[in-house]
Amino acid sequence: MTFDAAVVRKDFPIFETETRGKRLVYLDSANTSQKPRQVLDRITQFYETENANVHRAVYELSEKATAAYEGARAACARFIGAPAPRSVVFTRGTTESINLIRFTWARQNVREGDEILITEMEHHSNLIPWQLFVQETGSILRHLPIDDDGRLRTDLLEEYVTEKTKLVSLSLMSNVLGTINPVRTIADAAHAVGAKVLVDAAQAAPHLRFDVNDLDADFLAYSSHKMCGPTGAGVLWGREELLEEMPPFHGGGEMIREVWADRATWNEIPYKFEAGTPNLAQAVGMGAAVDYLEGLGMEAVREHELELTRYALERLESIGATIYGPRELHDRGGVVSFNVEGVHPHDMSTIVDQEGVCIRAGHHCAQPLMRRLGVPATARASFYIYNTPEDVDVLIEAVEKSKGWFA
């Protein structure tokens, strides 16, 4: 049971605009997604009928705002199978969620000589926080290698997950290779040595159905803007008992209980981690995005994207493009990185833009992975619910054109 992408496309006002005088072929959803009317309307409705600060005030408007905000939290918890809304902390996005763990749980639990394990395919957002952390604490950062197909070398787990490992932080789906990682296998290995597992679900949440219990994750981060929601919102989910134990991150209003001049006590979770006025309307919009995606059905989303990916891989290979990442579709999402002999990806991106095609060119916030792949940059097309096979056709034609220029 899938949906008609041409119909879904009508929910997204941006497709009523043109780019460079051409039909907009947006193939950069792994970077940020477009937003359906339903989400935009919900945000406007919030500001027009419910806007007030939450939790703190007694009047009806503030109660409405609080109900909307907490309702969004419940939706974001449900979406990832989290047992309780209180285990969901609202952040600005995945990057902030990961940094929050760096400044709280990790500071409390990872010491000099301890190891943090990430992978060779991580986004800078799941790499730089740990580089900084190990520099600050004298702990050690290790990288689980990938094979030439762009899959994690789980055969090396025994070597990389050791008694010293305190945290394994990895993406559920790669933003460059499209690989869907065997998080459960890795979590089992991590838990066997008492390490915790942080899952970067920035790419997975928009496209896959998953459940924090099945993954056996300890923390999980995802962003609103990549899944039809507004910018400026994201989630850090954590096991309740871990969140309870963690020190606060930012200090400020709302995260406190009692305050004296020189000390304070903390509010209960998740509020302990939400200092200051939260990103209210953005959280509400993220909740609406969850509702929208659940309305389509995440299985249907996945199926639709698999079809597009199959078609895109086939057509790209037929024009001789080099593909980075798994060629088979199993455990692979709708992100396709590629290069075409003789055309630098930046040139390609500029040229296909003339045909209305938005693709990304560059290092995709994964410079070490680019080095591993032996290329300075790649082009990348990524698919979402509003893309159609026609979009792939336009892409291929545009890529052919760019080849023509350099022929």
Binding site: H344, D347, T350, H363, P376, F406
Partner: protein
């Protein structure tokens, strides 16, 4: 303002220099060697400079990257070779102002280089077009001071 289509920009200016770069390769002996890059696109260049008194006697480059960065650098070497350090600096500043949209670009001063202005319409690519020029500016600093 001259309107250059992207296709014209590429086909008439960029591709020629991209395919047949001028002054490519190591320059020996040289007074200055600078390696610079543009991490956003992975462009990398090495720039070799040789001074003679107040003049930029020799210049060459090597590197890899997108066509705009390499072509722009190739055109640059053609333009500034043999100029006085001061003139080279002035040309570079003119190009930078032109790419910042602050100036139209003077045909008499810049010649062919004016066609690089087509890149202004593609803001992200401006960094590509300027990689060589910014590196040159740094290199000139290390040369003999122009009239002080």
């Amino acid at each position: 303002m001259v309107r250059v289509s992207l296709e014209d920009l590429y086909k008439e200016v960029i591709l020629d220099h991209y395919r047949t770069p001028r002054n490519k390769g190591r320059l020996d002996p040289h007074d200055v060697l600078l390696e610079r890059n543009n991490p956003l696109c992975g462009d990398e260049i090495e720039l070799f400079l040789k001074f003679e008194g107040d003049d930029l006697q020799g210049i060459s480059f090597d590197g890899k990257g997108c066509s705009i960065s390499l072509a722009s650098t190739s055109m640059m070497t053609e333009k500034v070779q043999g100029l006085s350090l001061e003139d080279a600096r002035q040309v570079t500043e003119s190009i930078k102002r032109m790419m910042a949209g602050e100036e139209e670009g003077d045909m008499n001063e810049l010649g062919d280089l004016v066609s690089l202005k087509g890149v202004v319409k593609y803001p992200v690519r401006i960094k590509c077009a300027l990689l060589g020029w910014n590196t040159l500016l740094e290199g000139l600093e290390e040369g003999k001071p122009a009239s002080t």
